[in-house]
Amino acid sequence: MADRDQPRIVGTPFRRVDGVAKVTGRTRFADDLAFPRMVHLKLVRSHVPHANIKEIDTSAAERIDGVIHFVRGEDMPNTFGILPVSQDEHALAFEKVRFVGDAVLGVVALTEDAAEEATRAVKVDYEELDTIGSVEEALVTSTDKIHEYGDEGNIHKKVSMEFGDVESGFDDADLVLEDTIFYEGNTHLAMEQHAAVAVPEGDGKITVWSATQTPHYVHRALAKVLELPAAHIRVIACPNGGGFGGKSDPFNHEIVAAKAALQIGRPVKICLTREEVFYCHRGRHPVTMHVKTGFKKDGAIVSQHLKTALDGGAFGSYGVASTYYTGALQTVTYKVPRYRFDGLRAFTNKPPCGPKRGHGTPQPRFALEVHLDKAAHALGMDPADIRLNHLQPKNSVTANWLKIGSMGLEECLQKVIDGSGWRQRYGKLPEGHGLGIACSSYLCGAGLPIYWNHMPHTGVQIKLDRSGGVAVFCGEIEIGQGSDSVLAACVAEVLGIDLKDIRLCVGDTDLTPVDLGSYSSRVTLMMGNAALQAAERAKELIAEAVAERLQVPAGQLVFAERRVFDASDPERGMTFSEAVATAESKFGTLGTTGSYTPPRSPGRFRGAGVGPSPAYSYSACVIEVCVDRETGCYTVPKVWIAHDVGRSINPALVMGQVEGSIYKGLGEAMMAESALRRLPKKRSNALVHKFPSMLEYKSPTFLDMPEIVTYLVEDPDPNGPFGAKEVGQGPLLPVMPAVCNAIFDAVGVRIDQVPAHPQMILQALDDKARGGPGRYGPKRFPDVSWGEPLRVPTPDEGGDGKAINAEQVGVRGGTMKEDPEGVKS
């Protein structure tokens, strides 16, 4: 049918479907909800970083007016966690606490104030244990283990894999370059703090509204911890006031609210304070990296060895996936024929790290792009050319077995090179002014689900009736990224109706088909494909009925302008609602479904599950900086960025995501950091946030935003709906390295870590003035014995995607087995 080639909505900057409600305050976020007889929950949180709990004394708290109930950890003995291999959290700690902020008790009161006051009156007696504050400490501390599971000691996960003979590659190289680089942790800083309301139903069931990006996983965690059949629990994800990965885990406050509601038979609400959000965290892992690369004279990479060490914090969260992600996507931008990756994640007594925009990939991308910049200078090449001349080809398979489809990076690079005047300006700007270039790539959803199953990753259901209205049901969650608009646009496009004719019902585990959640940049591609399938099926039904009524071949019918008509005689037709009524008469009640499962990836080795995606987006970025040599202060006056989005469903939203990524990326490059400090031993030795509030945590404001020139590159991907790929995460990644590369062009020093503070630039300048290399960054990578890597021959070597030494390497002890009984059906 012809209209898919000439879309009327897709590709236009239409107004987002949730926009008016958002700007007029009518969107109901979780914190906006209230129910009759509702009471309030607060959590008592540990102020010590690592301790056994000896006693919890609630006697003073009980006397506070309005306090009605306490929820205790012993009542919820089952553990939970986002990954089946890291079910290491209790809803409330009852044996030991593992970080400052770990929740130990729930307090329920008639008012939020009373609950808050009561949390301060609860006395917890702790027997303190040694604290582990860094990867280095975790590597040498075997007593006082934070968890009883893990690969060894306090190492949560250790992976090592080699694709091709990396050492022989170094022997063939003309230049071997090594760098040690650090990326500080940082947090999501969504405007909305987490909130949830649990409402017990009359029949023993329960409904939980929550600001979550992943209602499906919250659903599973609730079933496991509450020991209820999942079918008796309904989770409704409210639109999120920003997520960025920070609402992707099931959280203890959601579970405790539900438990309290069941215990007392009243609706229970909890809203976290900003400080609590800083401690719940799940933000960017601090990662120390070592990268060693062999180059040919022309800049071609012959071999690369990347090592990463992640400071994981106190719980597993997504950490196993995060660890693999620090090594997975290094190969998808430039040709890396031989590649070794060693990564580890340590448990420390800090707020747990998890996924943040770019999940595990911005850190190694920063390392790689800074490293490439240095290589270009060492080889006497233009940093743009070392990238441009060695791109990974489209429709190829990388050394680590990732299948690349469309690949628009060359065009992205050309756009920013031309736009920024790179060829005329790089290396030639006045002292203190500089340009930096970097590229990146990101997934359009993970190829495999978080827990092993063969079911679709997303589903869409469409209900049509004689009113002409079309109701679309999907488990996706609007987190501000525009997924509601994508869903409505895909369906409206196919059925030839207006966006306003669509009613969405999303993120409701009772009513909507499962969608795994708004993370991993998966929604547009996966949900979009499911929506197209459901809409095409609806269109087929309608077309069949209308064809019969009009005596026109179904293939000749056009769905457009809210009508269904004969392409050769547009007058001959009917309104869309008449068409639906015609179909309803013929077939009975109308409904269709669509679903999507990603294609199988070619990797067949342990760890091959992280990295594959139906498609990869690409970005290239040039950033200009002005550096004040005397103070080290610098500004970013202008950014040029090009993003290969495959095809824009809505270019206005795509531009918004790209510019939002610049905002976030500049924050990470210049100022944002979830740094912790250890209080003096006499003051509890606790590891506390340096910046646990927005009065102190630094993030750019509107005033700090530079001029941004955005280019959208559209190289449609056959796996994307209408050819669309992701845009929510990829464009963030080149920003940080481009800033540091620009600082080098401006003042000739290397800042090998982010955020790059003015003080670091000054120190590097001092270092250079004293005859040093002019560098600020980590001195060394921790000593780790990696053992025998999993050896996987590359496609070029004629490999079949399997490891050749899987048996010798075996499976390390560090993963938990998912208890199939844990989740009742």
Partner: protein, 283 residues
Amino acid sequence: MIPAEFDYAAPATLDEAIGLLQEHGDEAKILTGGHSLVPLMKLRLARPGMVVDLRKIDQLSAIEMDNGSLRIGAAATHDAIQHSDLVSGHCAMLCECAGEIGDLQVRNAGTIGGSVVHADPAADWPAGLLAADASMVLVGPGGERTVAASDFFVGLMESAIGEGEILTAVSIPAQSAQGGAYLKMAQQASGFALCGVAALVQVEGGNVTSAKVGITGVANTPYRAAAVEAAVSGGLEAAAGHAADGVTPLDDIHASSAYRSHLAAVFTRRALETAAARAGGSA
């Protein structure tokens, strides 16, 4: 992030306000802009039982000349001061100082009195007021008294204001300087000064012959950089090197003490140079 319960009063006269302070004693806190008090209340670090809002007392926001001195009412907003022709004509450096505070929203609501009394070691006003030899007008149950800026900022978050006293105005004497400047490096999240330097200079034959320099953000109290002032006739760069003489620079999560000392020297030199370049116009 929700303050504890409190009562609120917005008296129409100064006498009424003083009466409320006497009545409520330790329980009372004065609000004029709220940028310091409200965050403390939201974090529950401050739990006043009574908040006395002075913004309804008209005379407190007046900016006027008084016997050759400029009198800025304590409840005058930063923005009003930044854009006041009177202030600009009397000591333009103070307009620049006002304009460096926070952002537009902060300057629209925040007041000079609120800032000064809070005595935050990184606030902008103290640097400007110290350099301009300002004095603070305090009214209490015992009547009115005046305290020089150099005696007013006595410690970290601690001023010379007494129990039950209200700062009603800041008084700035006639200036003999020919040029002035306020330059700062702001902490990016809060906008407070990691280092802020106010300079007023007299120039003869193109050379700075005398200077008054106030520095904020560097030590635990804002200070007059006496060593800089003493050395200024010997060249600005060398003089600026003494910017942190005699103080212990703060060392905290936002900047190390070494970096603050360095910034103090750099910004002092720049402020002196800028002030000198402006000499000839209004200081």
